[in-house]
């Protein structure tokens, strides 16, 4: 997998080799630092002749390779093309649902990595399955708010590339972001943990900046960003979430 921060370089190298109007299916998840651009925008800039599409959803490579059932979202602005690509790539066990909401799919793919770090912290700190379910649910609520502010369809955020990938990433030690959070929750300093491909570490500050620009309330992601920046301890971050005023759910 190409990390989000390397997509521009890889795309530049590929650009001269691609015939015009070639569909390019992006599998990287994240937001480019500095530019705050999503991957489809990076592709549009670096390979202007390409037709960007995006594939995202709950699919550990090992599960797909073993032929276990997997369902994902495949989006392209041209919904008809998305449907054709889904038919071409689908198999008896690999099921792409198609969509025209490219932005929604990339928002889900990027933001869930930040929330997965929070879920890892809850697990690493030993807060129990009920707390983890509550955190994932409140995290999903902020994903919905962020998506709405940036033009995503609610159905996409509730679908495989949004909720589906969030669930997988927030619950499995196979997820690099979750594991990073587990180590944080166990008391390791952010700088002492190898971030590796824990994309959420890079996404968190950019996501928060974008949330602030459109006044989106994201308490869980904010707590993650504060933890990563060592502005808050794990226990203070948990306390900050538990002492918010009790309020109506919606």
């Amino acid at each position: 997998m190409v990390p989000a921060q390397s997509v521009r370089a890889v795309a530049k190298a590929l650009a001269p080799l691609l015939p015009d109007r070639t569909p390019v299916i992006i599998c990287a998840k994240g937001i480019e630092r500095g530019t705050k651009k999503f991957m489809s925008d990076v592709i549009a800039e670096t390979v202007p002749g390409a037709v960007p599409a995006i594939l995202s959803g709950p699919s550990f490579a090992a599960d797909v390779a073993r032929g276990l059932p997997t369902a994902v979202t495949l989006a392209a602005s041209d919904g008809k093309l998305a449907g054709e690509l889904a038919q071409a790539l689908g198999s008896a066990t690999f099921r792409p649902y198609h969509s025209s909401d490219v932005r929604g799919v990339e928002i889900g793919g990027a933001a869930k990595n930040v929330l997965a770090i929070a879920a890892g912290v809850v697990a690493g700190r030993g807060l129990g399955a009920s707390a983890s379910a509550a955190l994932t649910t409140r995290g999903f609520a902020e994903l919905m708010r962020f998506g709405k502010a940036y033009g995503a369809k609610p159905e996409t955020m509730m679908g495989l590339s949004g909720l589906g990938d969030l669930l997988l990433t927030c619950s499995s030690p196979q997820s690099r972001n979750f594991t990073f959070g587990v180590n944080l929750g166990r008391g390791q300093k952010p700088n002492a943990i190898h971030a590796g491909l824990a994309e959420g570490v890079f996404t968190a500050p950019v996501l928060l900046e974008m949330a602030r620009e459109r006044s989106v309330d994201m308490p869980v992601s904010s707590a993650v960003a504060a933890l990563l920046a060592e502005k808050m301890s794990v226990d203070a971050a948990i306390e900050s979430l538990l002492t918010r005023p009790l309020k109506a759910e919606a």
Copy 2:
């Protein structure tokens, strides 16, 4: 915990002891067989002087008892009363979010038990974490559709008593419904497994009947009902979900 099928009898016994206008907070989850009534309707019938409220959400008793952080939904038709009850019951670690959508809360609490059986089957059959996340996501989509057809607010279905409880129930061996599904997935016959308090076993046929009455498509719940009625094998049920035509996500 009082199982849903016993709520009427318990409420009848309590009725003479309750002063008029006493808020009665229901913690049972399910639909009454035969009458197809939700718990708040059963209370309204048997204790007409009571004010029915409902508490539901991801909260294993063991987690609550240990003082681990827990967040749930507390609903009453009178939203102000719901807020007061939430304040009265809330503590530093037990956080009730209040709501006026009683019906939405009870739909989530009942339907998630059926979906948890499906998640258990996926785990028991060894289909992997990606398949489980996809199934939970598609299950959540049918929960949303059912809720909409029966007057629930989408925010409630996406909240702690809907999505939150679904996540907990679909992922933990502590859930009786999930465990029942695991045994099914491992090849045991439904009648050979002690249903005990696996409420979803009783809810499935009623839920499906109600879905049919309002033309709600619920493929995952239908597969569970077919498995329970021994009309389909586990592998045929999985096959039925994997061979649905590929389609748009929304």
